[in-house]
């Protein structure tokens, strides 16, 4: 039998409140799974095993289905992101306007392939399947900031800029 009362969150981290609110809004229905995983990833940056276990139990979804969904959708990440991220658009317009050169430049500068995070956790290099701003191709989202009209050189420059930025 399932518990009628949803389980307690894994810790007293206040971010669980956002996750809990999302599930309550959907009355803990199993179909809220994807919406809830979005809330978890937005709050914590990625999906940790304990978070997935908590959500699965709360929504009364088998762990196997939870894991299936979390790994089926590209948007969800089971690995923590780096301190900085460069999400390179690899849509058609960006591709024909020079994405391969940019990928090569990041590879030679940081030793990263698309989808990898540096061993020291400083930088994640990810791809997106078209960000829908093809007018400015090629584009990337570097630490939440969209930059367009990129060249291999300017991409490295933009990444350097955010990585050397020190919070005051």
């Amino acid at each position: 039998m399932y518990n009628l009362v949803p389980p307690e969150p894994p810790s007293d981290d206040t971010r669980w409140k956002i996750v809990g609110a999302t599930m309550r809004r959907h009355r803990h229905r199993p179909d809220a799974l994807i919406e809830t995983l979005h809330a978890v990833q937005e709050a914590f940056g990625h999906l940790e095993p304990e978070a997935m276990r908590y959500v699965a139990e709360s929504l009364r979804v088998p762990l196997s289905r939870m894991y299936g969904v979390a790994t089926f959708y590209h948007f969800f990440s089971l690995e923590p992101p780096g301190d900085h991220t460069c999400i390179l658009c690899t849509g058609t317009a960006c591709y024909i306007k020079g994405v391969p050169g940019i990928v090569e430049a990041v590879r030679s500068e940081y030793g990263l392939e698309l989808g990898e995070t540096a061993a020291d956790g400083s930088l994640s290099f990810r791809s997106a399947r078209c960000l829908g701003a093809c007018g400015q191709a090629p584009i990337a989202v570097i630490d939440d900031e969209m930059v367009g009209g990129l060249t291999p050189e300017s991409t490295i420059e933009e990444i350097r800029k955010v990585m050397s930025h020190v919070d005051h």
Binding site: I34, H38, Y73, F75, I96, R129, C130, G132, A133, C134
Partner: protein, 537 residues
């Protein structure tokens, strides 16, 4: 809950408010102009600095089309278009308001890019303030819903849509009126309307732009559809990659609920309809309607064979109408002007207009809307301004990973569903990527196959294994390792994957290869492994 009179009062108050300003500066704040919101703040600050708050209004609007010149600013009532405007230009722009135009920033609007377009879906884009329902109402939003609810039976609404000849704009081209009447006839006390905003084709950004620029138009289209088919709940399935569109939709839904345009007893009639936003999570296959339904239900996006069609058994097993964003955005105009007027636009089989996202090697990148039947050449060379930097146009790719490449010597083809299919491409959702001689067509085919290979959901073997094999073959060809026999294998495998895959993803995945094989066969032959030269054996 509001009555129709109360909605009219809101419109009246908004018109009075606008009449209070002598000038308005409309700034594009859609994602096509990434600095739009910064420029808007700079302009607002400059207006305050100049002490002209009471006569000049700065408003954030949606896409004005010519992304290549972003950030765009329209000055009213002078009707000047400025671009590209940066924050540094703000003070100068504000100082010029009411005086002489700033020549260096003026965008000529008497060129084909503007004069050759015909806006139906985009008629509110760049005029409506997407975050303010008052602004949308003043531009006529929800007028068609009011008309449908107060003057028309659901049957009459379906009749108008059928007579308009509207066909699905997501790429399939299925007659919208027929789809609506199937759902209307389906038995069940609970029915759903889903707006497919999972714009997955790379290079397509029409839906994003409509959602960011004029979200109420889509909500209105959904409400009219729900009234026509007898649905009471709606979902908008939108890509998580479109945060601004999601934010604006959510705001729009809240505002519409507050005014009684969504929710229970809409406009004090017995019609109930409410809408929820559901986020995609980066799976291209979820654009396929049965996979999309699985995803809304919180499951992996695996398609299932049809029939039964969603119109009979869809979301949670209930009759479900699924239409694309652009299809629904056409509906208010059809109800307002009548189906016949809509049907007067376009060609015999393809009515109305189509929005295209022009990108790639073309001068005027941006969003354009043209009557169906406009030729590819008119769109690319005249409206798009051709290929820049003195290069020559080689081909255009339409229909994304499901479409094909059309060579430049066939650009006199009119754009309609059938003509594009005949050329081995398809209308698709509306992405048009222009390529010049620097693009290697085999590599382009390989790029799309890589996309389909990664995006295959893995449920059926022909798609899961076939796309991987096709990608390997294409990789061998681009690496100049393939033999002529492998070229024949490539074609054969394409046909097999096309004929035996479960859903549209696999069935159309070979299209980019087949169309390039057909139109650019020479390039494949050039890539074949060179025969060993003398002394190399």
């Amino acid at each position: 809950m509001s009555t129709i009179d109360e909605i009219e009062e809101v419109v009246e108050r908004e018109r009075e408010r606008l009449a209070g300003f002598r000038h308005r500066l409309l700034v594009c704040t859609a994602s096509g102009c990434p600095n739009g919101r910064v420029v808007r703040e700079a302009l607002a600050a400059a207006v305050a600095e100049a002490g002209r708050d009471d006569e000049v209004e700065v408003a954030g609007v949606g896409c004005m089309g010519l992304c290549a010149k972003g950030t765009l600013v329209r000055v009213l009532p002078a009707d000047l278009l400025y671009g590209p405007v940066t924050s540094a230009d703000a003070a100068e722009v504000v100082a010029s308001v009411g005086g002489d135009p700033i020549e260096r920033l003026v965008v000529d609007t008497e060129v084909p890019f503007f004069t050759r377009q015909l806006k139906v879906v985009l008629e509110g884009s760049g005029r409506v303030e997407p975050d303010r329902i008052e602004s949308a109402l003043a531009e006529g939003a929800y007028g068609s819903l009011i008309r449908a609810l107060s003057e028309m039976t659901p049957f009459a609404v379906i009749d108008e849509v059928t007579r308009s000849g509207l066909r699905g704009r997501g790429g399939g081209g299925y007659p919208t009126g027929l789809k609506w009447s199937t759902v209307a006839k389906a038995e069940g006390d609970l029915k759903f309307v889903i707006c497919n905003a999972d714009e997955g084709d790379p290079g397509a950004f029409m839906d994003r732009s409509v959602l960011e620029s004029d979200p109420h138009r889509v909500l209105e289209g959904m409400a009219i559809a729900a009234y026509a088919v007898g649905a009471s709940r709606g979902f908008i399935y939108v890509r998580a990659e479109y945060p601004l569109a999601i934010e604006r939709l959510q705001t729009a839904i809240k505002r519409a609920r507050r005014l009684g345009l969504l929710g229970r007893d809409i406009l004090t009639t017995p019609f109930d309809f409410d809408i929820e936003v559901r986020l995609g999570a980066g799976a291209f296959v979820c654009g396929e309607e049965t996979a999309l339904i699985a995803s809304i239900e919180g499951r992996q996006g695996h398609p299932v064979p049809r029939p039964p069609y969603p119109a009979e058994r869809g979301l949670w097993g209930r009759p479900t109408l699924i239409n694309n964003v652009e299809t629904l955005a056409n509906v208010p105009a059809i109800v307002r002007d009548g189906g016949d007027r809509f049907a007067a636009l376009g060609t015999a089989g393809s009515k109305g207009t189509k929005v295209f996202a022009l990108a790639g090697r073309v001068a005027n990148t941006g969003l354009v809307e043209v009557p169906m039947g406009t030729t590819l050449g008119e769109i690319i060379h005249e409206i798009g301004g051709g290929v820049p930097e003195g290069r020559t146009c080689k081909a255009v790719q339409t229909g994304g990973p499901s479409g094909g490449c059309i060579p430049a010597d066939l650009f006199d083809t009119p754009v309609d569903y059938e003509s594009l299919l005949e050329l081995g491409s398809m209308m698709g959702s509306g992405g048009m990527i222009v390529m010049d001689e620097t693009s290697d067509m085999v590599d382009v085919a390989r790029f799309f196959m890589e996309f389909c290979m990664t995006e295959s959901c893995g449920k059926c073997v022909p798609c899961r294994v076939g796309t991987a094999h096709l990608h390997d073959l294409l990789r061998r060809i681009t690496d100049r390792q393939a033999s002529p026999d492998e070229l024949a294998d490539l074609e054969e495998l394409c046909e097999m994957v096309r004929d035996t895959s479960l859903c549209g993803l696999g069935q159309s995945a070979p299209n980019p290869v087949l169309s390039t094989l057909r139109h650019f066969h020479d390039e494949y032959v050039e890539h074949l492994a060179a025969r060993p030269g003398p002394g190399e054996v």
